[in-house]
């Protein structure tokens, strides 16, 4: 029986999907190590404790809530101090973070405070005797490493959209805790959060991603990609590096080796040839559709369904057909 820790990310007072994924992963690990307790840390502005029940519904036995005005935005110094203190106090066997922008900032700080190693961007984990084994894609996804974590706690960050949140009702008992370091005294201060309104699905959470490349020929033609994403209703828009380098889309939309790594249920590549740089970011998508005029384009080797032809002819038809299919379903 061992305690397993998970960090629950929130933004603007709302739990992020990756929070539920981390809790689900922690629950799985607790059950695999003899049914220990899952302890979740939730920090935020006053009122965030109201979200504890959702964490309980996904497998948290205890939700440690720390409310402070200076936790309204991300506060990595104070959050890492609290995560490390709680991991130590619980004598946790393992700690699970999300391999998100916030989690990949927080987890290394907590690991260094505790003097233990960390595995990032984990896609699978298992218990192997005294060690926890994890799988972690390296070399832009062209190599998969299996790593043994022998430190205690074993810390790892799970790749978003890999461990689907599973309802698994536990007590979710709330314990109010004090900060380990004064959140108002952090040296690094997030003074502003821009964007991220609920209307926009983010790339790491979206079940469907429609992505565009140079084959769209001009920035304004990205409207076709946006329209197809809107037709799906649950889709985010991505882009290749060539497109973000040209300023057609912001860098934060880039999927690839130096951009985001995504694993949606469906990835639609529009006018994308399939440079290695790009494939590194989307090769683990469950289903891949490619639309490209060049039938020799490398993207087709990866695609489950390919259509060869002019994107400007195919896209309007596809947008209409997806709209019609969704309308019929509802």
């Amino acid at each position: 029986m061992a305690n397993i820790f998970a960090f629950a990310e929130q933004r603007g007072g709302e739990l992020r999907k990756v929070a539920l994924e981390a809790v689900t992963a922690a629950r799985t690990l607790a059950d695999a190590t003899g049914g220990g307790e899952v302890h979740v840390l939730l920090v935020g502005a006053p009122g965030i404790g109201g979200k504890a029940a959702t964490l309980g519904a996904h497998g948290a036995d205890v939700v440690h809530v720390c409310e402070h005005a200076a936790f309204a935005n991300a506060n990595p110094e104070a959050a890492a101090a609290l995560a490390a203190a709680l991991l130590a106090q619980l004598a946790a066997r393992a700690g699970v973070f999300a391999a998100s922008a916030e989690g990949r900032d927080l987890a290394p700080r907590a690991a260094a405070k505790l003097g233990v190693g960390l595995a990032s961007d984990v896609t699978e984990f298992s218990v192997a005797g005294d060690a926890i084994h994890v799988r972690h894609p390296t070399h832009t996804g062209k190599v998969i490493a299996t790593l043994a974590l022998t430190g205690t706690p074993a810390l790892f960050a799970v790749r978003p959209n890999v461990f689907a949140p599973v309802p698994n009702a536990k007590a979710g008992r709330v314990e109010t805790i004090a900060p380990a370091a004064d959140p108002a005294a952090s040296r690094v201060v997030v003074k502003e959060l821009r964007g991220g309104g609920k209307a926009k699905l983010d790339l790491s959470e979206a079940p469907v991603i429609v992505s565009g490349g140079r084959g769209l020929k001009a920035a304004e033609n990205f409207k076709l990609v946006e329209d197809l994403a809107a037709a799906f209703g649950n889709a985010a828009v991505g882009a290749t590096r060539a497109v973000t380098d040209d300023g057609w889309r912001p860098h934060s939309d880039q999927i690839g080796q130096t951009g985001r790594v995504v694993s949606p249920d469906l990835y639609v590549a529009v006018g994308i040839s399939g440079a290695i740089q790009h494939l590194a970011g989307m090769r683990t998508s469950r289903t891949i559709v490619a639309i490209n005029k060049d039938k020799e384009a490398p993207i087709f080797k990866l695609a489950d369904y390919g259509i060869v032809g002019d994107v400007f002819e195919i896209m309007p038809a596809l947008i209409e057909a997806v709209r019609a299919a969704r309308a019929q379903k509802h």
Partner: protein
């Protein structure tokens, strides 16, 4: 300004990798190597900061076997002032063991800014920079895509999923650099000649105490793709049918 930049030698990725005979590493035979992409942008950020403040030095650190001197020379040819090769025979899958070896050396100097790339594209951990900051007791802002530094303080932007945040911080600081902050300069011929005469010190920096170790490395299963379902808009109905009945995503 005293500015440090930590860089990593990584394989060029546009190849099909092979697993070495030990089953735990990538076979390096025939691979080409370069400075990690993000680290080039870290070097560029350091050079721009030095140029803006008009004084000080940029020192480049790299941990690894003798071969990493090639990557240090590249940074020197871009304009860095001196290099430090932290000599270690092997490597480690434990980012904390790497961070400790780097911090042991970096702590000897009162740096104003220590730059890292956001992530090494081979090991894909994204952990060493914030860990070094923690070990040195310095503030850290990771994955920055814009940067302003003046009067002992700075402001940076971090890209989040579907949002971004603006972060204030004091100096000294550890910063890790994301794509979008800058485009690295190419070494000029003059720079390449000058780099040959710049100081490059080599000293032992053993990597110890790893609690994350490689059990095995393997190639991922080949994706069974390559199915062309048709040409032009005429193929759209078949695609819809497959998405509904086979992939079940619509």
């Amino acid at each position: 300004m005293r500015i440090a930049v930590c860089i990593k030698r990584v394989p060029v990725m546009d190849v099909k990798f092979r697993i070495a005979a030990d089953g735990k590493s990538v076979d390096e035979t025939g691979l080409k190597f370069d400075v990690n992409d993000f680290d080039l942008w870290a070097v560029e950020a350091a050079l721009q900061l030095k140029e803006k403040t008009g004084d000080g030095e940029v020192a480049v650190f790299s941990l690894g076997p003798d071969a990493v001197q090639e990557q240090i020379r590249k940074a020197l040819s871009m304009g860095a002032d001196r290099g430090v090769h932290l000599k270690a025979d092997g490597t480690s899958a434990d980012p904390l063991s790497i961070a400790r070896a780097l911090a042991a050396e970096l702590k000897a100097t009162a740096w104003d800014v220590i730059f890292f790339g956001r992530m090494a594209i081979d090991s894909a951990d994204q952990s060493v920079g914030p860990m070094v900051a923690e070990l040195l007791g310095l503030p850290c802002v990771s994955a920055i895509s814009s940067l302003e530094i003046a009067n002992g303080r700075g402001t940076a932007k971090r890209e989040l999923e579907g949002a971004s945040e603006i972060v204030d911080f004091p100096l000294p600081v550890v910063l890790t650099v994301d794509e979008g902050l800058n485009k690295e300069r190419l070494p000029s011929l003059k720079g390449i000649m000058a780099a040959k005469k710049k100081p490059l010190e080599s000293k032992p920096a053993p990597i110890n105490g790893a609690t994350v170790n490689v059990v095995k490395m393997e190639l991922p299963p080949e994706r069974v793709g390559g199915r062309i379902i048709g040409e032009g808009a005429a193929a759209v109905p078949e695609l819809i049918r497959l998405l509904q009945t086979e992939a079940k995503v619509l």
